[in-house]
């Protein structure tokens, strides 16, 4: 879409876009280019010489069982976080959309966690789940369930999934509620008159109309789970115990900044970039289709 009425002048608009372009070049395109370049080079053990190795880093990456494990783990984590937070949010949104008393109050009480930092959300959950000081953690241990997410990988994974999903419920709730409210009341009323009942009405009338929101949120949630949960994981488990909660982003961080493997970490960065590009492309393809209709 283009505007018809436009102002004359060339230097002025160029001056206006310049700051943003400059920042984009220096802090986005230049590092991204460097990532691509160093993903195809390898430094000698003393860091004196780097040689061009082509796709070797990528070959190593995908033949490394640890990396493949991390991909699988990230997928499980992302899907679990998305399903959990979207499911709970949808249920809450459906209830908040009804004409009940105290809607405004409920809404505020349900959206504030949007503002909580992922790392701070982790701290809130420590008080519940810590094996020695946590309310739930202690209760489990007292009742014969050996609970310690610092030692048990499966428990660690469920803790980071829970804390990450918890933080994202608010965001999904806001979008589901907006989606539900944009469904014309007349449609729902008509279905009610035709005798469609609760669950059936929801499944056959409301859910199809809500599908655009669902698809949009799937992409947003996958991106959130893949990238924004770094703080949560770092605060709760640092990727451990062992590698039980080491998602791809945690692995890039560990390999690049702690193990100082620049080539390997850059190759991982490039793989992640491709992942984001695919997700963004899917999202925009889908969004443009939606606005056309």
């Amino acid at each position: 879409m283009e505007r018809r009425t436009i102002f004359p002048g060339r230097a002025f608009p160029i001056l206006l876009v310049l700051p943003q372009l400059l920042l984009t070049f220096v802090f986005f395109l230049w590092p991204a280019g460097q990532a691509i370049w160093s993903s195809m080079t390898r430094a000698d053990p003393f860091g004196i010489r780097t040689t061009f190795v082509g796709t070797e880093n990528f070959y190593d990456l995908f033949t490394d069982p640890l990396y493949r494990d991390s991909i699988g783990r990230t997928l499980v984590f992302c899907v679990a976080v998305s399903v959990l937070s979207m499911g709970v949010a949808l249920l809450l949104a459906v209830c908040a959309d009804r004409e009940i008393r105290g809607r405004g109050w409920y809404r505020i009480m349900l959206i504030w966690p949007y503002a909580v930092a992922p790392a701070v959300a982790a701290v809130l959950w420590i008080l519940l789940l810590h094996p020695q000081i946590g309310l739930i953690g202690r209760w489990l241990n007292r009742h014969g369930v050996p609970w310690d997410y610092k030692l048990n990988g499966l428990q660690a994974m469920s803790v980071v999934i829970g804390a990450s999903a918890w933080k994202q419920v608010s965001y999904n709730f806001i979008f589901f509620l907006a989606g539900l409210q944009s469904i014309p009341r007349a449609v729902i009323e008509a279905a009610r008159m035709d005798g469609a009942k609760g669950w059936f009405r929801f499944r056959t009338m409301v859910l199809p109309l809500l599908m655009p929101t669902v698809f949009f949120l799937i992409v947003v949630n996958l991106v959130y789970a893949a990238f924004d949960t770094f703080g949560t994981i770092q605060a709760l488990t640092q990727g451990g115990p062992g590698k039980a909660t080491e998602t791809l982003v945690v692995k890039v961080f560990r390999d690049g900044l702690i193990n100082l493997d620049v080539g390997g970490s850059s190759a991982q960065s490039v793989v992640l970039m491709l992942g984001v590009i695919v997700l963004t492309a899917v999202q925009f393809r889908f969004l443009s289709r939606r606005t056309d209709s």
Partner: protein, 275 residues
């Protein structure tokens, strides 16, 4: 009288409890004796006498972390700089690409658009080396400027500008308004609700940053409160839990307050931006 919708109330109350319970525990925990918490004697009832912990953490640091007042200052300055900086540069560039024709206009637009696909998380190591080449490690500009480029805000402003009626632009031009007058006196007021919504979203974004400050600011002077709190629980052996909890409360209060106070604009802006 309407019938009370019990199932809906029950579900919503459970949802509220799911969010409030951890918060309440942190509030209560912050006022209790650290040793008692470590023994597992966390009580659900706050102790008024324990409130002094807030004064303590604000004024003096704990081992491995500075005083919380400085963290709050760094976080606040960072969040404000990022929010305002992002809004300024994206409203300017959105104005340029929608209301003018200039060489490489679409190239400029797509360049900005591409940044959507390059979150910090995917380019950790190279960004760090660029930052150190520029001498920006451990500086406040280094903490904020790279996060100011934003495709999302530019796209949102562009959407708003595209639907401004041509008649309005024509009328302004007939009245002799130049591009700058038009921008200042018409565009800014027209997009004020967008500005408010974006401010909330970006303030929260800036305040909650974790990976970026972890990368570029290693000096305790530049610890944000989010970084500070993770540092505090990192020393697992003798964590002073009441201090951790009090810091957590202070870390989530400002962004939560902004969201609640500006709830209406925030919700509308967030869901509009999606379209």
């Amino acid at each position: 009288m309407r019938r009370i919708d019990w199932p809906a109330h029950v579900v919503l109350l459970l949802g509220v409890a799911l969010f409030i319970l951890p918060l309440w525990l942190v509030l209560a925990g912050s006022t209790q004796d650290s040793a008692a918490i470590s023994r597992g004697e966390l009580s659900l009832i706050p102790r008024l006498s324990g409130l002094h912990v807030y004064a303590d953490i604000l004024s003096q640091g704990s081992p491995g972390a500075g005083p919380v007042w400085r963290m709050l200052l760094v976080s606040g300055a960072m969040a404000l700089t990022i929010a305002i900086g992002k809004i300024v540069i994206s409203i300017l560039s959105a104005y340029a690409v929608t209301f003018f024709r200039f060489p490489f206009r679409m190239a400029a637009f797509w360049t900005i658009f591409i940044t959507l696909m390059l979150p910090v998380e995917v380019r950790i190591v190279p960004t760090y080396s660029v930052m150190s080449d520029l001498g920006l490690i451990n500086t406040f500009p280094g903490l904020t400027i790279p996060l100011i480029a934003s495709a999302t805000a530019t796209l949102l402003f562009r959407q708003t500008f595209l639907v401004i009626p041509d008649e309005l632009v024509e009328a302004a031009r007939m009245d002799g308004a130049g591009p700058w007058r038009f921008f200042k006196d018409i565009l800014i007021p027209v997009s004020s609700s967008n500005l408010a919504a974006l401010f909330v979203i970006l303030f929260v974004y800036g305040w909650n940053q974790y990976l970026w400050p972890l990368l570029v600011a290693t000096t305790p002077q530049l610890d944000t409160i989010v970084i500070g709190i993770v540092k505090m629980i990192g020393t697992e052996t003798q964590t002073e839990w009441n201090r951790v909890m009090a810091t957590a409360v202070l870390a989530l209060l400002p962004p939560v307050a902004v969201v609640i106070l500006m709830q209406r604009w925030f919700v509308r802006g967030l869901t509009d931006g999606e379209k």
